[in-house]
Symmetry: C2
Subunit: 185 residues, 2 copies
DNA sequence: TTAGTTGGTTCGCAATCTGAACCCAGCTAC
DNA sequence: GTAGCTGGGTTCAGATTGCGAACCAACTAA
């Protein structure tokens, strides 16, 4: 995508090589996310995935291949004669869980019908419900997206001097919520 | 997708009407997520989005229309003569931020090059870095996805009695990480 | 008058998705 | 020993979707 964008003189809010774009090259589409959801539920085999998702075989084969290539899954032989394989999440794959949990919680909050969320996610040892909203350890308080700002990460001092616009700036900006339509509970 | 799946006698890990699937009907594809990323960066106008993302006009028009329909954006006229519009995040849209932050942090951790993440997200008042990993308030400790379990939400007592498999069960299962390929830092 | 801006729509071609059919190795029942 | 099943795919034709380019409409500025 937008790699050749250097002619703009506007402050570059997002450096080239945005991590979201990079992540999206691996988490490509809806099917990929549903495959990951099933993987977290312990479904590991081609045919089980196919049956559960009702996904076309060619698409499933393609997505599994590309997820193995990118290191999200490992393909392991679980029996010989006949050869049979399963797909397991690597540590890299396991760490995709916050994305799935966020999606699920957003769906629960904004899209579930009258009956409320079909299932709750809880911390197993104590059964406390999981909440993926933002919390600051230093201030000891929850905060909203509008309080998030973005700072240069591993940027060299030289880069910073030549690009003052890269210094701290709000990352997420709140829309004008007063006149907006959707609200809930 | 898999709506007609009631004939299976296996324990139904995910009830029909999964919130992740529901969320994916709105957060449809890569373009939608990139539009949302830009919205959080304060980009609100058709042409600014088009330039920044280098997205085909027809796709952008279509995605904006559908995001307005689903209540993620509001379309607001910001001038008359000629009529000009902008797209702003509703509260529903603002709450998509954990998904974007999770994607970004995963990309930072697993896909960034030698130089590390291009930017850090911080809590503005205190500049503490934002961390979207799991934390339990009751146990006062961070935990891994394997400690997440899933419990029935608003399920009636009758449903529960007739479907004992719906009771508490692990939601996210860890792969066999010992033999897996990818590890980092 | 001409060019530029903003916010689109229309069109034809290209890429991708989809269901159905097929393949193949090994196993199992008859 | 052969018909049929299972698991894990590939191949193929047709439908859907994506895409760039061109065009449109309403206005402004030079």
């Amino acid at each position: 995508m937008s790699t050749a964008n250097s002619s703009s003189s506007a402050p570059q809010l997002q450096p080239p090589g945005c991590s979201i774009e990079a992540a999206l090259e691996i988490v490509r589409d809806r099917w990929t996310i549903l495959i990951l959801r099933d993987a977290f539920r312990g479904i590991r085999r081609f045919d089980d995935l196919r049956r559960d998702l009702e996904i076309p075989r060619a698409i499933l084969a393609d997505r599994l291949r590309s997820l193995v290539e990118s290191g999200v899954f490992v393909k392991r032989q679980y029996q010989q004669r006949p050869e049979r394989f399963e797909y397991r999440l690597t540590p890299m794959g396991m760490e995709l869980s916050p994305i799935l949990v966020s999606l699920m919680q957003w769906g629960d909050r904004w899209l579930s019908g009258e009956e409320g969320p079909p299932r709750l996610l809880v911390h197993e040892p104590c059964a406390t419900e999981i909440d993926m909203s933002f919390y600051c350890w230093t201030c000891e308080e929850a905060f909203t997206p509008s309080q998030i700002s973005s700072q240069p990460g591993a940027v060299t001092a030289r880069t910073l001097q030549s690009q003052p616009a890269l210094q701290s700036q709000p990352a997420l900006q709140e829309g004008d919520l007063k006149n907006s339509g959707a609200t809930k509970s």
